[in-house]
């Protein structure tokens, strides 16, 4: 179990290592800051999708162990988003707070991205066992913010592009699918729960 977790951890690091490798060996374009921004942003989006896929995957596969990886994937989402965000702060604006503030207020794609990132902060902080225990039921309510972050991330990408909307639309489709699975399951559970309460069938979920 422990070695499996280590393996997944290492796999999650691969995109970052590839980026470092490309930066060092000249594998990036002549606008490397743009490349770094795009790649870290892409991976933040991919990881939030992976994180949100864990629970549906568990339902569909019945493999309950997979839930152990959800927190790690969530934290890697935060990590890639942090790299993306710091690239923007450091390389793009070099801590020019005023121009950053202008951007966040005036550019709606920056607003969306900023919102998605900020909402992840409490999730990252409360990801420890201690906080899970302390918050009890409120923890899962709080962590529903990840849905808002995911939507904000996709909207951020969609509003950023000009005409080439196909890539952000793929993320939008995947996210919609992940939401749909949840809605359908909830409906099914309700239907089954209803029948159970009337004593007509036994729950088979």
């Amino acid at each position: 179990m422990r070695s499996a977790k280590t393996l997944v951890f290492c796999l999650c690091l691969v995109p970052a290592l590839v980026l470092v490798w490309d930066s060092v060996t000249g594998g990036l374009s002549v606008n490397p800051i743009e490349d770094i921004t795009h790649r870290t942003g892409d991976w933040a989006l991919r990881f939030v999708m992976l994180t949100l896929a864990v629970t549906p995957f568990r339902w569909l596969s019945g493999w309950n162990e997979v839930i152990r990886y959800r927190r790690m994937l969530g934290l890697f989402t935060f990590w890639y988003a942090s790299l993306h965000f710091s690239t923007y702060i450091v390389f793009d604006h070099f801590f020019d707070i005023r121009s950053i503030a202008d951007d966040v207020i005036e550019r709606k794609y920056v607003t969306a991205g900023f919102l998605g990132f900020v909402l992840m902060l409490p999730l990252a902080v409360t990801s420890t066992q201690g906080w899970i225990r302390r918050l009890g039921k409120q923890w899962s309510v709080l962590h529903r913010l990840i849905y808002v972050t995911a939507v904000a991330g996709v909207v951020h990408f969609l509003w950023l592009v000009k005409l080439e909307t196909s890539e952000p639309l793929v993320y939008a489709a995947v996210l919609s699918g992940l939401f749909l699975v949840r809605v359908v399951r909830r409906k099914l559970m309700r239907a089954v729960g209803h029948q159970v309460s009337r004593g007509k069938t036994s729950a088979t979920f």
Binding site: V30, N31, I33, H93, F94, W159, L160, K162, L163
Partner: protein, 320 residues
Amino acid sequence: MLIKQAPDILSSQITPENLYWNRRSFIRAASGAALGIAGTATFGGTAGDLLAAPQSDLTDLRQSQFSTADAPNSYDEITSYNNFYEFGLQKEDPKRYADELSIEPWSVRVEGHMNKPAANYTLEDILAPHPLEERIYRLRCVEAWSMVVPWVGFPLGDLLKRFEPTSRAKFVKFETLVRPAEFRGQRARNLQYPYVEGLRMDEAMNPLAILSVGLYGKTLLNQNGAPIRLVVPWKYGFKSIKSIVKIEFVEEEPRNTWNIMIPNEYGFYANVNPEVDHPRWSQASERRIGEFFRQRTQMFNGYGYQVASMYDGMDLAERY
């Protein structure tokens, strides 16, 4: 750090005779081709020969007072990071797919309100009388990055005058080649084609506006808009239309492609203006390719001294 290169120390400038004779031979060759004797080249090389090879040298170019002292970007940077949607949406696509386009033979249709006959002019006809010069210009993309490019070309106005535009010619409209078989972006219909651009007549006649056939002393590569493209350095890069096959003198302001695609973001004028933001990002600063930090964008990309008067009394926020 920027290594400033003063334009007044370039070697070709201190060898005027050499320059003169080589330029003469180029023109002579080009004229020969224009007279339709390209097949029986009498003086050695013709302009056709010169432009046939993918990487011919354009030597002994005139230097220009309009060249910037900013250090040019490297040849690799200029030829590997391009927006040319005909080849695809990514910056690397034009270089990657450049070989799929064949630019031989090339002709340019010139028509509209002019005294000279409308016709398809061969590239040799187009180029023949024009001595080539080097123009080191800043290029500011609407996406807030910039480069410095040592273009080789000649003033657009010099060409346009040859066709004697009439008083009804208020604008010049340009079109890029449509050839879906060789342009994968056109097959994918990623924009409405042909790509169209335009200039007001006075803009077109401004000495800063050039037609370029090369950069870094070499003929243009396909990813940079071979064999002939517009360069309008005080406007965002998308105005500088590539691989031109049609020039038309028109009375009405033409709709340019990006204005058709996203009218609230891209207008006809597209003058570089740090005060007027793009709806999705600020135009106040830019990243010079190869440099670490952003720099402030200059009004008219720093060419105001030459072009600002054309826009006196015009609301540049309104006519973006």
